[in-house]
Amino acid sequence: MKTTNKNTLLFLTLIIGVVILFVLNISLGSINIPVKEVYQSLLHGSCSKESWNYIILNYRLPKAIVAILVGIGLSISGLLMQTLFRNPLAGPYVLGLSSGASLGVAVVILGAWLLPISLSEFFLSSFGIIIASSLGSFIVLVSVLVIAKRLRDTMAILIVGLMFGSLTSAIVGSLTYFSSAEQLQKFTFWSLGNLGNLTWNSIAILCFCVVLGLVLSVFSIKPLNALLLGENYARSLGINYKKTKYIILFATSILAGSITAFVGPIAFIGLAVPHIAKLVFQTSNHKILFWSTLLFGAIIMLICDSITQIPGTEIILPINAITSIFGAPIVIWLLVRKRKMMG
């Protein structure tokens, strides 16, 4: 009973946190717009200056929504993978899912000449890029899973993920030699990661993909809890392991794939956020973890995005730099802690 109360309080705090950070994220930017004007614009759709109104409603608002979608989607895909692999170091970036998505996009952007014209035209549309990128991350995920089954070793899986990363970047590097400057530019800018250039249409598509991934994950909460105790235990509880596995794989690749397609590879969020949720809530129950990871994902991504635009200055840092500064120490800490437990 006590923990339930504590959790309710925590959840309330988190929800309020998301709302506050959302407003804060919209209020901060390289141009100083008074908070009052921001509210005017958000609530009534107009404020004292037309350019401010446009910046708030059509630039900052969509960016904040994308940040939330990205934070939620990547964190949940990280949580799913950590449970499925029973490995604390799993995550879309570390296991090479993002690299797989990059490869998918690289093949359609840089290798467009390999495909027949009708196909290449389709793949260069925004839907095509999502499909290519989801497919890329799905292939990597399945391959890692197959290898993981044989190795059953945390380090080995990490190394496999690293290898996939190098392999894809090598293939991408070779492809660049055969592509035009224009294609190369398109791909380079895609790969830098960017939240701020999505139309409302693309946001709707992204939103649809993320919600689809989340709904699938909600259905897997119960089997996920059982999976924590191992494959055989889950089976003995009457859970269709194969079906669950495929649902989780599908959900993960659609989450990581669609997000990577729209905003480029974003580092470490998927790995770090579930751990933060686990640390704060001190539980491994997915009924709680799912929602807390979701909220933390939104919060951390909003914070990271606010930091990229140092308020009042003209400096913009790449979003990936910020998330890596956040995430890399967590990975190191996890590895050290694991060593200690084993030692």
Binding site: G29, S180, G193, N194, G196, I316, P318
Partner: protein, 380 residues
């Protein structure tokens, strides 16, 4: 004891300094005997002597601490001993490899394009004359962009390789030099003034012993440019101008002292970032550019876009600018060569007179009623 050492040290450094000063003075008197024949370019010096020319590239790249000196020796020319330490090239050269498309117009204007035997990534070249030679197999591929293929170059053995350096680390260039090839560093790209950049035709003129021709060509460009400038000075209005485009959240605009910005100034336009200091480009957040440039009358050089639709497809925010709504966006990226190279990148630095006239036509059409723009095309 300690003060003694200090004293000694002070004397020593004074002597040393004096020695240096004297050396410098000597060199200066020696050089000033013949006047530098370069007027606008800040990174190039040419001193013509009987039988040879001393060519100095003083600013090969932006942060360079030292330049390069080349001795261009004519047939039967006699070199003084003091110059033997520098790289020597026998002129006129008969074959050349260049590495930047901006060098192609100079060769063509001098009428020596048939001496070009190699180029890295020939697809970037747009000029029809040189393209024809490429299609006929007369110009060999010598690598991709800056990474030159050493073996191919050694095999070709051109009289001169003209390339450029980005900084001190040019291992390929060092390698080529070691294998006995004449590698010359060209610094035209660090030049900021429009006429200064164009004056680098004299660099190639000197290599071919065509100094007089290069001078005549440059003088006519200079006259055209100054005439256009005088024409622009007749107007008193200067419309506001926005420039550049977004690449991943950053909007890149030319800085106030850059080549592109100087053109806008000479064309009597009020460029929004003309006050900024620096020669490169500024990267700005969208919000800042939007606030400042939303109502700018013109938008010049919005990246590589060649239509308004392409622009708004790539970023919805572009369509919110007044210049976009009023269709006053002008781009150099429409005019392309047979293989997709943008002609402006190849030719603009050699023909500043045309660039300036284009811009005057855009901002003050009444001044040049009959002129039709060469580089900048209105986007539809």
């Amino acid at each position: 004891m300690k003060s003694n050492i200090l004293y000694f040290f002070a004397i020593f450094s004074l002597l040393f300094l004096f020695g240096c000063l004297q050396n410098n003075a000597n060199e200066k008197t020696k050089i000033s005997a013949v006047a530098n024949s370069v007027k606008y370019a800040k990174g190039l010096e040419l001193y013509h002597y009987k039988g040879y020319t001393v060519m100095k590239v003083t600013k090969p790249w932006p942060e360079a601490t030292a330049g390069f000196t080349y001795i261009l020796k004519e047939k039967n020319g006699v070199l003084p001993d003091s110059l033997k330490q520098y790289s020597m090239i026998s002129v006129p050269i008969q074959s050349i490899v260049v590495t930047s498309t901006t060098h192609i117009p100079a060769l063509e204007m001098l009428g020596v394009e048939n001496t070009l035997i190699g180029f890295p990534s020939t697809n970037f070249i747009s000029s029809t004359k040189t393209r024809k030679r490429i299609e006929n197999g007369k110009v060999r591929e010598v690598g991709v962009n800056e990474s030159l293929n050493t073996e191919v170059l050694i095999d070709m053995k051109p009289d001169a390789i003209v390339t450029f350096g980005i900084n001190n680390n040019n291992s390929t260039i060092d390698n080529l030099k070691k294998s006995g090839l004449n590698v010359l560093i060209n610094g035209d790209w660090t030049e900021q003034s429009p006429l200064g950049k164009a004056e680098w035709i004299k660099f190639f003129g000197a290599l071919y012993g065509l100094d007089t021709k290069a001078n005549t060509l440059f003088t006519s460009i200079e006259t055209n440019y100054n005439n256009a400038l005088a024409l622009a000075n007749k107007t008193t209005i200067s419309p506001t101008v926005l420039s550049g485009a977004i690449y991943q959240d950053q909007w890149y605009v030319p800085q106030g002292q850059s080549w592109a910005s100087l053109f806008l100034k000479d064309a009597k336009a009020n460029y929004l970032w003309k006050e900024s200091k620096g020669f490169g480009s500024l990267s700005l957040p969208f919000e800042k550019v939007f606030e400042k440039g939303q109502n700018a009358e013109f938008w010049v050089a919005p990246g590589d876009f060649s239509s308004l639709k392409q622009m708004s497809d790539s970023n919805i925010h572009y369509a919110e600018f007044a210049s976009f709504k009023n269709k006053k966006v002008y781009s150099y990226a429409v005019n392309k060569g047979a293989k997709g190279g943008i002609i402006y990148f190849e030719l603009a630095s050699a023909r500043p007179d045309l660039v300036l006239k284009d811009l005057i036509k855009i901002f003050h059409p009444e001044l040049l009623p009959k002129y039709s723009p060469f580089f900048f095309i209105k986007l539809e």
